[in-house]
Amino acid sequence: MNKKNILKTFSLIAILALLISCNSEQKTDDSGLKTASWEEISAKAKGTTVNMMMWQGSPVINNYMNNYAVPQLKEKYNIDLNISGGQGPEIVQLAMGEKEAGITNGQVDIVWINGETSFQLRKIDGLWGPFITQLPNIKYIDLDDRYINTDFQQPIAGMECPWSIGQAALVYDSAKVSDPPRNLDELETYVKKYPGTFTISNDFSGMTQLKSFLAELGGSPNSLDGKFSEEKYDKLSKQLWMYLNSNKKYFWKEGETFPKEQTKMSQLFANGELYLGFGFSEGGIEEKIISGLYPKTARSYPWENGTIKNTNYMGILDNAPQKAGAMQVIDFLISPAAQFEKSHANSMDSNTILDIGRLPEEWKEKFANAPHRQYGLEMEDLKDYAIEEPAPEYMIRLYEDFRTQVIEK
């Protein structure tokens, strides 16, 4: 390349760079929203297009959203809801990327998030709020319930709106195992009797299972409550890794590797390699049995020292262009009608976040008479086995140490 070409190239790059950085959008003025009345917000939301990012890995959830929520929103409020796929890490990456690029009108308004994602978003100031007390339907939610108002030991402070609640549970195939293990000692006996049929997934779900084990080693369901304690973690995790390392030769694949994520573990359970499983939504087996993935003999059961119960939320991103529209959509999603539809045991089968006691009579009856699950336990059955989500530092350390202390050993 001679000098002339080099000059041309650089000037082209310079022009491109200038064009890209001259993002002369006006940031929408949302300061009024926090003090506006609901009528004003609702009026502002009419006719808008709202973008939502959520996990699209479940056909029943997608069905609920696409075939119920979207048409209802259009009919009732003339809002077009566009849903795009993205799980926790993708949502956080999007928020981080847009923040770094200084984008003031983001691509996404609403995000469906759970504990770990909301923790990360709060860390980068990615959420807009507080807004939930302005929603009319919030009165049906019990915000004093510590499983709802606290997310990973951090108060939600109105920055995210609760949408569903669930508890993790263990799963077993009753045709293959008659008496599944309910604590760590029984698990030890179990894996020796049925080697190669148990494992822990190396993702959020698996770490939640490890949290249950850690709490059991701590001696009570509440042993991990409160702020993160380095010495408590060190003491209990040492015992946990010792337990896992001494028993892992009886795990799936002799503990040489662990499934990358929860879906892989479900597949292994479905094809009979694993006899035990673990899942949110009280095991999450109802829709899997109905769709034919899991055998009809699959059942969920509680862990003696308890499993994590947590809520998932809807949040509004800090740079969302349609905040009023987002608030309207979220208010609809927590309305009794939408929550009732969502809780159908043979469709989305997701526990309602609403406090039945606060609902008007007709809704109380509807919820009481709704069909119950055929195969899985209800959240009520697991009430005595509920543990709060511990501080996020436990999760961070578990992720890392499970890798270095168990997988890599």
Binding site: T9, L12, I13, L16, P89, V92, Q93, M96, K99, E100, E116, Q120, K123, I124, P195, G196, T197, N202, F204, K253, E256, T257, F258, P259, K260, L268, N271, G272, E273, M395, I396, Y399, E400, R403, I407, E408
Partner: protein, 271 residues
């Protein structure tokens, strides 16, 4: 060239900046601590070695297989049906090949069930470890299935273009036996003409993503899987470590690519 190179450099500078803490929402400014922790953990070197070993083994076996097929079945491959069967795997994307392997070779998969029916094993756990295993059997077999058709096609083309048929006949006429023809005529010409492509495929296998994602173990992991895991991790403050690995990998691959293409220019002027 502009369209290819400028975004690449921009992305590289971005990754470099992120790895030193200059960019990134949660980073505070220039720091070498991410580079330090990556080197201290040794995970990068293990992953690099692991990826390189898998790539070399897969390449050697694929090329050996492709050479053998080219030599033995050259005439048969001109026929429609056989060539169709041979080249079918080329149309299968990596992800599909990976899941197919799982369906066939996992402990609850097709071959395991046949073995069970035949009475060779009694429980799923007794079937040998062929996917997600430490020897990367599943990954290597998938790579080989994808590469043998490609290399066979390549070698057949070189064979025709370089007139190896005629040269072999000539060598025979001059008194060479079959073995010598293979060693002195067939192999040198084919390998000399294709070694750049082979080296590029080595780089491609080194950075493969979906196949090791589906069929690989949690540790050690192949490079691209490691990088994506690190950049998507739960602890946001450590994301820079993923960028460190990405930067090192890019530098190594770029240097290799440059070295590959430099000597070529010199050869043009030699007789």
């Amino acid at each position: 060239m502009l369209i290819g190179v400028v975004p690449f450099f921009a992305a590289f500078i971005y990754a470099l900046g992120y790895s030193f803490g200059l960019l990134g929402v949660l980073n505070n400014g220039f720091t070498t601590r991410f580079w330090q922790s990556v080197f201290e953990s040794g995970e990068f070197l293990k992953s690099f070695g692991y990826s390189a070993a898998i790539a070399i083994v897969s390449l050697v076996l694929s090329i050996g297989g492709a050479l053998w097929v080219t030599l033995k079945f050259r005439r048969e491959l001109d026929k429609k049906f056989l060539s169709f069967m041979m080249y079918l795997p080329l149309a299968i994307p990596g992800v599909v090949a990976g899941f197919f392997m799982i369906q066939l070779f996992s402990k609850g998969g097709f071959f395991a069930r046949i073995a069970f029916q035949m009475g060779l094993i009694e429980k799923t756990a007794q079937f040998p470890d062929l996917v997600n295993d430490s020897l990367a059997f599943g990954i290597i077999v998938t790579f080989i299935t994808m590469l043998i058709p490609f290399f066979t096609l390549l070698f057949l083309n070189v064979y025709k273009n370089e007139r190896i048929e005629e040269l072999s006949i000539l060598a025979h006429a001059l008194g060479a036996n079959a073995n010598q023809v293979t060693r002195r005529v067939f192999l040198p010409i084919i390998l000399k003409k294709t070694w750049v492509l082979i080296a590029l495929y080595f780089i491609f296998l080194l950075g493969a993503y979906e196949v090791p994602l589906i069929l690989g173990q949690e540790s050690p992991q192949m490079l691209s899987v490691l990088i994506i895991r690190e950049t998507h991790q739960f602890d946001l403050s450590k994301i820079s470590e993923g960028y460190v690995v990405a930067v090192i990998y890019t530098i190594v691959v770029s240097i290799t690519a440059i070295l590959l293409f430099l000597p070529k220019q010199k050869n043009v002027y030699e007789t």
